[in-house]
Symmetry: C2
Subunit: 219 residues, 2 copies
Amino acid sequence: MNNNIRVLLVDDHPVVRAGLRAMLADFEGVQVVAEAADGGAALAELSKLHTLGEPVDVVLMDLQMGPGMDGVTATGKIKAGEAGTPPPPVRILTTYDNDADILAAVEAGASGYMLKDAPPEQIRQAVVSAAAGQTALAPEVAARLMGRIRNPVHALSAREVQLVELLATGMSNRAMAKQLFISEATVKTHLVHIYGKLGVDNRTAAIAVATQRRIIRNQ
Amino acid sequence: MNNNIRVLLVDDHPVVRAGLRAMLADFEGVQVVAEAADGGAALAELSKLHTLGEPVDVVLMDLQMGPGMDGVTATGKIKAGEAGTPPPPVRILTTYDNDADILAAVEAGASGYMLKDAPPEQIRQAVVSAAAGQTALAPEVAARLMGRIRNPVHALSAREVQLVELLATGMSNRAMAKQLFISEATVKTHLVHIYGKLGVDNRTAAIAVATQRRIIRNQ
DNA sequence: GGCCCAATCAGCCAAACGGTTGATCCGCGG
DNA sequence: CCGCGGATCAACCGTTTGGCTGATTGGGCC
């Protein structure tokens, strides 16, 4: 009989996979049955294990994965049943916590979001609770999201986000005005509002903060 | 007798430490004798092992390490002998490759720069060659530095890279001048040179280009 | 229907920034 | 030894940005 939680690791770093494998090996009732270096390989592994009659109970997935399919896309496909399996719970396990990634992952169907600097016990909990069908966020992540919800004052409007995006490409006020078919005065007004909401007092600091919070995506 | 290479791991992620430990355990002649979660702990470990008569042959060091002392600072202190030991070779093992980090690490005395997505064999090589007193860069890193050397016209100097880094944090000319203990005039001169080399005409565009070319890190 | 807010625009003034010219000092390499 | 390039600083000037006050329009909401 089998009381084990069967885990699929998805991460492009061999070092991280080895670390998780070693960590989870120390825990009773958890078993790493397969690994994948990107989203495409993860889907293939899920499918293969399904046809072998050895289904996966939990997927531990990184988000940033070099050249291959990223974690959000892969999570979405898994949840859409594209692996040909009943979708197992997907736990995101990544390095950085930023609003955009978290929201995207949750929207794609992830059941939780953990950080790689978590202590082993937290990671074990993540796997166990995922297998039990529960959702869970790392404490740091949960705290930040709560702050977000409580503080809608600092949320940029869609137009303001648009401005920040252009800002980050290095455009002048005049250039942004032309691009958006508005006057420079309006651009300046938007910028002042943006500075206020982001708690900065110049455009480069606004870019820094917006990048850090992943309000905008770069590259 | 002891033919082993004695390694100290320095990384704030338990997962990564476990991964490296597991990987290196598979290799003959390599032995992880201690671990540290930040630069301060690394110095303490070096010192402790030295007094025990069990010196460290190679340090594998991460750069970004959360709240504690960062890897560049720690490398500098180790190389300055602040651990009370003959300085062992320090190999940087980090996630991102960008000129700013590489230059800072090499300047601090690191003997090599590896990326965490490297395959196990490359990581083993890094440890072995470091123990042999050689310097080594990851292929990706080496390729980019070669590009710099072949194209020195558009290559930023170390000082200029430093400026761009501060620039990207949103600092004003005055703030950068204070931070670097130079005059605003000098800051402006550097910026003009940077604009010329990057082919832009303002600071935000400089940040955009520098980020895209991985002259600075984008987080 | 009245209210709030995002989006739009104007004008003004001070501060910061960008462009230029020119200068000194220092280390490295032919 | 002499030149070259990097790093440092100064003065000047025009342009851009930031900070402020105020105004209009249109959409959503109670």
